[in-house]
Symmetry: none
Subunit: 208 residues, 4 copies
């Protein structure tokens, strides 16, 4: 029944350290080489691991990089800064800081590009990267509603649409600013952005 943790399968168990070393080596290679020049053979060498071991655990470059990059987003948090505006500014700055790191810049857009033709990859990205960010949006909204800054949203469909819109606007703007425009999403920009976003949402909620 409990086949998920087989207690003890026969033979030598897989090295837990290998996973850690491989993901770290992947990020290091992303920094030094970038996505397109990263090779699995090189990652294996850096990790002190055989290529076989690597292929036994990941099906290819895309999946490996998704996992390596996803760990970067684990540090995203939403500490209570006292107001919705401050909360948003805080999390957007964190997000921008991650995107400014070369291992994220090189890898993230590349796997998203690959995911346009690979549904399994898109789902993997959604589950391990996007989902986490989406939770922050939901958490921030709930906290703002508790504070009374936002009215409760009774209609769940309407609510989902709004959350999706907010998420695309926030993540899209930061990503575009950082990776396409090639400029830093610094505090001044984040303040401007947050103001426009919140005023827009408030206005839209009033009109509705």
């Amino acid at each position: 029944m409990q086949s998920r943790t087989p207690a003890s399968r026969p033979g030598r168990p897989r090295s837990a350290a290998a996973d850690t070393a491989i993901l770290a080596a992947t990020r290091q290679a992303l920094v030094e080489l970038g996505w397109s020049k990263l090779t699995l053979g090189d990652v294996a060498t850096r990790a002190g691991v055989a290529k076989t071991t690597l292929y036994r655990r990941w099906s290819g470059k895309n999946e490996l990089v998704v996992d390596a990059v996803a760990e970067l987003f684990d540090e995203l948090e939403l500490p209570d800064r006292g107001s919705l505006a401050a909360d948003i500014e805080g999390v957007v700055l964190q997000f921008a800081a991650i995107l400014a790191r070369p291992e994220a810049r090189s890898g993230l857009m590349a796997v998203i590009a690959e995911s346009t033709r690979d549904d399994a990859l898109r789902e993997r990205i959604r589950a391990s990267i996007v989902e986490r960010q989406m939770c922050l949006v939901l958490e921030g909204r709930a906290r703002a509603q508790l504070r009374g800054e936002l009215p409760p949203q009774p209609d769940p469909a309407e609510s989902a649409r709004t959350v999706d819109l907010i998420f695309d606007m926030v993540a899209g703007a930061v990503v575009h600013r950082t990776l396409v425009s090639g400029k830093a999403a610094d505090e001044a920009w984040v303040r401007d952005f947050t103001r426009v976003l919140l005023l827009g949402l408030a206005g839209a909620a009033r009109d509705a």
Copy 2:
């Protein structure tokens, strides 16, 4: 006098038809194979051209795909729809329609990803793709000011900041919606987005 078009260089001139055929073949290959499986040898074959001809004109896959994708954005226009909101909705829908095409989906994000480690490539993308979109933002704002929908903006530095912000918000949101969230940027979404954006900008302008 005008040495820029040297009238006639010595030797056989380059075939103008080849350029057209190569870019078309590149887009076709993007549709069928996607970025990562696109091969310059295959593109050459599709275009009925030798690999050398291709390398004589483009330095690599990245540059070729930028040019091939850039042509897709030539069709972006800003017809006068009577109001700022209608203008924005119109151009965002056009933009979304282009991003929905597989040759753009596959190629655009990939070259942006590559550009994170190649400044020349980033500049090429900016000049041949982003610049054109930025012009539409400027044109739309000018038209809105003529209509009286927006106040004239005297401070050029402040003006540039605002245009940059708008551009990142518009392009970023549409790209994220289309390519990351994987949902269509349809009329309903565009209407919601435009409303939030315009109300936000109006509010920000009022407060300032």
Copy 3:
């Protein structure tokens, strides 16, 4: 103890069958295409082997063809035909028969031509092709001395000079007849040649 055959290096061992198949494919390609149109990619295909496998074992076309042609000379023997003249005639005919085969004609002169600018290649040819022929000359002389047809040669330097001269005269004449003059080194020719050679050597030994 004997580190030359390291008992077993780590990793998958090289396929022994591949070497055989590659050399056979090389000879086949030499027959069908000749040296200048022989392609390593084609040889690999014929041998049912990847190009990388071929390059892992030979550094280029020259080295490969030397090895492929060298095997042809393995069949050279010096059976005792009872007299020095008969021995020489026998081995010259064998040598001529090998040079008459298209895989030898095409390849041998070409690698010799290449070796004029590549000392490593010249040494490889010497070791794997010329050396074997030289041994036959030495063996034939020793046998003739046993029979009393030739006097023992006390001075080693003088001996080496004579052997070199004989070797260049025998091999050179047969090669020139076959490949430059383009005529067959048949029994009549070989008989004439052998007579001139032996009479000349005998006369020179008498005069000395």
Copy 4:
């Protein structure tokens, strides 16, 4: 009638200087690069000539190199040194001196190798290189007969056989010594060789 030298064809005549420059450039390239790395584009550049001009006059690398090398053999002469032995030693030394030059070493064996699969090329080599050498053999024999060193040879078939044999033995031995054994055909070697050859021929003539 005299269509072979059409007196003057219409249009611009071919540059006579180009031929000279091309052949000289070919020899220079043979010295510097060797046969296999010699390219017609490079030769054209060295000669200050367009590739087109080169292809208008030679059909390929093989033919060009034959002509370039053939000119080297123009200097072969047979001055009367007073005896057959001296005449042979003289011409063999001249021949060896030519073969010692890198432009001959690199090119000659290569075109001979190519000629094993190209009858037109073999004929071109025979006509422009071998024929000239063969004439020297005939001339030397005639002179020796005048001196009384050799008896007149009444049977023309027998005579041709002997000349062929001599030619293959002389040319073959020098070529093999120089290019295969990789040693100089110096005066000592030539003296040894000539002695063996003449004693052999004399003995064979006596026995016949």
